[in-house]
């Protein structure tokens, strides 16, 4: 065989291989049309990343009642072999799993809207899901979760990254760290570092501010169980960029949690 014939054989071999693999590649993609409600319109769809796990967030609006929507998903998905892993109908939530995929259906009712919003979070090829509720829980991370630190804000020394969240609408990155250091030390660190980076403090709020605002007094009384009274948030600005830093005690009692959120 001459060189030309070998080249031709390799080319046709690759094409043939592609045709053989194509159906498998297509089947790996979750059919999102399954999640289209019986009556409603899609308002947005975006890719989000939760600690290295890509997820699809689809937003529909529907004139159907919350109950009818949940019934529709319950019936149509269980008929397709999906198993219910969590059901909290009062809050409009049902979670499903099938093979390595998981789907979260959340129906929200905003009185001013006159319609119901359906939020569907799809996580495909989730190796840890396995169709079991126990497997759905993310372990308390002992090492940094997959993701990256923000370019704009330094990481508190010795802290552990426990969440990396990237969203498209609105575009932003949120990173949460956990440390055993106290709140005051952390705030001192960030106040100094952010000033060095040219960031200007624009606003600051604490639970006390929420309580003092009559529009939020009812809201703040419902939070006191899991959010400590000293939780504090600072808003920074640099040019047209903004960055938000929150520091609060862990609701589980041990350690301090640091949230850094930026529109990077």
């Amino acid at each position: 065989m001459n060189r030309e014939t070998i080249k031709k054989n390799i080319f046709f071999g690759l094409i043939l291989g592609l045709f053989i693999l194509l159906p498998y590649m297509a089947s790996a993609e979750l059919n999102t049309s399954l999640f289209s409600p019986a009556s409603g319109n899609k308002t947005s769809e975006q890719e989000i990343v939760i600690s290295g796990q890509p997820a699809k967030l689809i937003h529909y609006e529907s004139n159907l009642s919350q109950r009818d929507i949940l019934d529709f998903y319950y019936n149509s998905l269980t008929n397709q072999g999906w198993k219910v892993t969590k059901e909290n109908r009062e809050s409009g939530l049902i979670a499903f799993a099938k093979d390595n995929d998981s789907a979260n259906i959340m129906v929200m009712n905003i009185p001013q809207r006159g319609k119901n919003d359906i939020l569907i979070t799809l996580i495909e090829d989730c190796p840890s899901c396995q169709g079991q509720e126990q497997a759905l829980k993310p372990e308390e991370p002992e090492v940094d979760v997959v993701g990256e630190d923000l370019v704009s804000a330094p990481r508190y020394p010795g802290s552990l990254r426990i969440l990396f969240l990237k969203t498209e609408i609105p575009a932003g990155i949120t990173v949460i760290y956990k440390t055993q250091a106290g709140k005051e030390k952390i705030l001192d660190f960030y106040v100094q570092k952010m000033a060095e980076g040219g960031w200007q403090e624009k606003n600051r709020m604490s639970m006390g501010d929420l309580k003092a605002d009559p529009r939020f007094s009812a809201l703040s009384s419902q939070l006191s169980k899991n959010i400590d009274a000293d939780a504090e948030t600072i808003l920074y600005a640099k040019g047209n960029k903004t960055l938000m830093l929150s520091v609060m005690k862990s609701p589980q009692g041990s350690g301090t949690l640091i949230t850094v959120k930026a529109n990077e």
């Binding site: 989000i48 967030l57 959340m106 979070t121 509720e133 308390e140 969240l165 899991n226 938000m244």
Partner: protein, 291 residues
């Protein structure tokens, strides 16, 4: 034969005097009319420009409200997904509330700044359109100092943004055309001080995983999903422009220039600060009253 020569002279003298008086009166009345048109134009354009600034600010608040809604949508989806540890879920929830609270505060500040800016814009339009900067060429034989005095320093005054200065809602510019002859344009503006915004608070759910326990959900918990209402978004801006000329007899039944005033009222309308998916709409502006 009697001499009839010159009999018509007194008649012509009277006619010419009447004609001269008529021309003077017409010119002066014309000037009064011109000032009336100018003050009307000034007040109308100022009120409309102010209302337009307010409408833009309110539309900006609607945009912020829409962003708050999408922030709520994504965070609620993530917090309901059981993909977060308990710690991460609660701190994400707190930072979400703080971010929405800040957005509301920023929207309120935008509202306050918009109203301040509406007053500045209205004052600027009122002075620019009230005829102060009319062309005043140097008269033959007039000294440079006299001409400068007559022409005034209006251009520089505007450049220095002195139109923003006010005492009791009244902005004023005055100039001396000749010795003791003071001209004045005063602009009285009344507008809202800011906007009262009501947040949309809806029930939601926070789910987080606890080691050996699994996914634990808390509901109903309050979520801030945007801005529901602006209490005074249709409040108007009122502009009254008064042109005061030096006291001068116009030669007609003791008629004097004195002051000429015009008043106009305009307001933002047809908008809504709610998030766009909840019926939010951009604002327009219109004149609702002129005098």
């Amino acid at each position: 034969m009697r001499n009839n020569k010159g009999q018509l002279a007194p008649f012509f003298i009277i006619v010419i005097a009447i004609l001269i008086m008529a021309i003077m009166v017409t010119a002066n009345i014309g000037k009064v009319g011109l000032h009336r048109v100018r003050t009307a134009n000034a007040s109308d354009s100022a009120a409309l420009a102010g209302a337009s600034t307010m409408a833009n600010g309110l539309s900006q608040i609607m945009g912020m409200s829409t962003e708050m809604f999408y922030e709520y949508v994504v965070i609620q989806a993530v917090l309901a997904s059981c993909r977060l540890s308990y710690d991460a879920a609660w701190t994400l929830y707190w930072s979400f509330l703080a971010a929405q609270y800040f957005s509301l505060k920023v929207a309120e500040k935008v509202g306050g700044d918009t109203c301040d800016s509406a007053e500045d814009t209205a004052a600027q339009f009122a002075f620019m359109n009230s005829g102060i900067n009319e062309n005043k060429p140097r008269n033959p034989g007039e000294s440079y100092d006299d001409w400068r005095k007559r022409r005034g320093d209006f251009g520089q005054w505007m450049k220095d943004k002195k139109y923003k200065d006010k005492i009791d809602n009244i902005h004023e510019y005055s100039w001396e055309e000749s010795e003791g002859a003071i001209n004045k344009v005063s602009v009285e503006i009344h507008r809202p001080g800011g906007y009262g915004l009501t947040p949309i608070i809806v029930p939601g759910i926070v789910c987080g995983s606890i080691m050996w326990v699994g996914c634990v959900c808390h509901a109903p918990l309050p979520f801030i999903a945007g801005i529901a209402d602006c209490s005074n978004d249709n409040d108007p801006i009122t502009v009254k422009v008064t042109r005061t000329e030096p006291d001068k007899d116009l030669g007609l039944w003791r008629m004097r220039y004195g002051s000429i005033s015009s008043r106009a009222v305009a307001a933002p309308y047809d908008g809504n600060v709610r998030p766009e998916p909840l019926g939010g709409r951009e604002y327009d502006s219109k004149l609702i009253e002129t005098e």
